[in-house]
């Protein structure tokens, strides 16, 4: 019987190895195709010939701006919501249940649907046109549920006894929040922030319809600008001979994603949570 168990372990291990072939091949391909093109010049220069040569300087700037807009909207809104859910609402109350359903619903919305929504609301109705601002706002809607869940978890990790101690000392709610709860939950909140930024960084479909394709240096938030992910897509699909530059851009994006994942890991000091 032990021999049979050993064989099972080996067979399953083999399957596990086979599954890892795909991501390894992915890393190998992106690295192999991209590393030849990647240098400082590539990171700083403007793209030329629709991206076949030149660099990705403006695209990195656009990506950073979109992320900045996205997170500066999502962080206050998300933190406020998480505080409300944890601090201000009865767990079994109807309001809490409704909000939880709404958040799960928002988390389940496909990204391309966010794109349609953002196009309609920000690009057309509000008249912002294809712009970094429209892209950032739409992305903020998309990462909101993820960030809220992360914050909520971080806040709930604060021991109940801290609150009881604060109450027994007649500390005000704001005081409790500022001096005890937020400092305690700060690492978890930071991890949630970093993971949400990673989600936003990886997103493509939303930005196609909201931030657009333009690859000049952005001059204002109302300029259209393409992000790294959109650039990869466009080079790979619509520009013949764009593959090497596409792979190099993918390498840059992967680098950012990896740094973000490691940061979240370090800051949160807990197992990676991929909750969507």
């Amino acid at each position: 019987m032990n021999r049979r168990e050993a064989w099972r372990a080996r067979a399953l291990g083999l399957l596990a190895l086979v599954l890892m072939l795909a991501p390894l091949s992915l890393l190998w391909t992106v690295f192999g195709d991209g590393i030849g093109v990647l240098d400082w010049q590539f990171l700083l220069a403007e793209p030329e010939q629709a991206g076949r040569s030149g660099g990705i300087g403006p695209i990195i700037v656009s990506t950073a701006l979109v992320l900045l807009i996205c997170m500066s909207l999502a962080v206050p809104l998300g933190l406020g919501t998480a505080l409300f859910l944890v601090e201000q609402v009865r767990p079994e109350g109807r309001l809490n249940l409704t909000l939880q359903w709404a958040l799960d619903g928002l988390g389940a919305v496909p990204s391309v649907v966010f794109g349609l929504f953002g196009y309609r609301l920000f690009v057309v109705e509000l008249g912002w046109g294809y712009s970094l601002l429209a892209g950032g706002c739409t992305l903020a809607c998309m990462v909101l549920p993820l960030f809220i869940r992360g914050c909520e978890q971080a806040l709930r990790d604060c021991p109940q006894s801290y609150r009881q101690a604060a109450a027994s000392l007649a500390i005000s709610r704001v005081g409790y929040l500022r001096r005890i709860l937020l400092p305690f939950a700060a690492p978890g909140i930071a991890a949630a922030l970093v993971l949400s930024a990673g989600r936003a960084l990886a997103e493509t479909a939303v930005l196609l319809f909201t931030a657009g394709y333009v690859m000049r240096w952005p001059e204002s938030l109302f300029d259209s600008g393409r992000t790294l992910a959109v650039h990869i897509y466009d080079l790979a699909m619509n520009v013949s001979g764009g593959s090497p530059a596409s792979a190099a851009t993918a390498l840059v994006l992967l680098g950012f994603a990896l740094v973000i994942q490691l940061l979240a890991w370090q800051i949160g000091k807990r197992p990676l949570s991929f909750a969507r």
Binding site: G13, P23, G80, T81, F84, P145, A202, A205
Partner: protein, 285 residues
């Protein structure tokens, strides 16, 4: 006064905090309502004539907006992804928990974390450069339903395995010692006791991943070939609803645009239904 009731609302600051955080929470809920509202409104003229949408042909220039083939492609590619990812993911999760050496399991877990953080467009790029030529050498053209299924399976695998890991560990904690005491081999204990006990937690995870696969756009767009048709075999190129939206949004106007919004509405409703199903199923256990 019990601890759980609000300590005091005596300070204005406390009151302000409550109001502000309520405002934030409502904003988050309102976004979902707005999405539903906008998509329904934008596709309303076509929603009123559902018969025309069931047609098989998608020829926007001629006013034919049949979504049948693309809806089929979306469902088929997602189901194919589940078919590939669920058994493999479960088996490897079992291996990681019960058979693999701890150090190996830790490295493997880190690799899964890395896999989860790879952007979908990079999966698409890999599919385009490696997977499609590989399948094409075997059975052309390569860009196909199968390619879409494989890429989607890779994308949902890490999250599926994280959730399977939680579910299996929980059921092992509860039932494994008892099962082993009865003298069953570990494998039969896993197959006959732990997996059935873990199903109620696995189902919602699988449903959520199905929703994710249905909504995935870029990776599928890059490898599926984008021909509007019912696939005759797994090797035939297809176009999914999501890919269609991404491809045609840039130039669609009038009824064509309404049809694209309608595809989005359909995806939204499907995703919400799956989520509700997962939640109901999860809350019953």
């Amino acid at each position: 006064m019990s601890i759980s009731t609000p300590l005091s609302l005596r300070s204005n600051l406390d009151w302000l905090l409550r109001a502000a955080s309520l405002g934030c929470a409502l904003t988050a809920a309102v976004v979902l309502l707005l999405i539903l509202l906008f998509l329904t409104q934008a596709s309303w003229p076509l929603l009123q004539q559902p018969a025309s949408l069931l047609g098989a042909s998608w020829q926007p220039a001629n006013g034919l907006f049949g979504l049948q083939a693309m809806l089929g492609a979306s469902l088929l590619s997602s189901l194919l992804a589940l078919l590939l990812a669920v058994p493999a993911g479960l088996l490897v999760s079992i291996w990681l928990i019960f058979y693999a050496p701890a150090a190996v399991a830790r490295v493997y877990g880190a690799m899964l974390g890395l896999m989860a953080s790879i952007p979908s467009v990079v999966y698409g790029l890999w599919g385009l450069v490696v997977l499609v030529p590989l399948l094409g050498a075997w059975l052309p053209p390569g860009a196909s339903l199968l390619a879409a299924g494989i890429v989607l399976a890779l994308m949902i695998l890490p999250l599926l395995m994280v959730q399977a890991d939680v579910a299996l560990r929980e059921s092992a904690r509860r039932h494994l010692p008892a099962a082993l005491c009865l003298g069953v081999s570990p494998w039969s204990a896993i197959r006959r006791v732990l997996l059935p006990a873990a199903w109620p937690r696995l189902w919602p995870a699988i449903l959520l991943q199905l929703g994710r696969a249905l909504g995935e756009t870029m990776a599928v767009l890059m490898v599926a070939g984008n021909v509007v048709q019912w696939p005759g075999s797994p090797f035939a190129p297809v176009r999914t609803l999501t890919a269609n939206i991404a491809l045609e949004m840039s130039y669609a106007t009038g009824p064509h645009l309404q049809a694209l919004y309608l595809s989005g509405w359909l995806l939204l409703v499907l995703a919400l239904l799956l989520m509700a199903l997962a939640r109901l199923y999860g809350s019953r256990t």
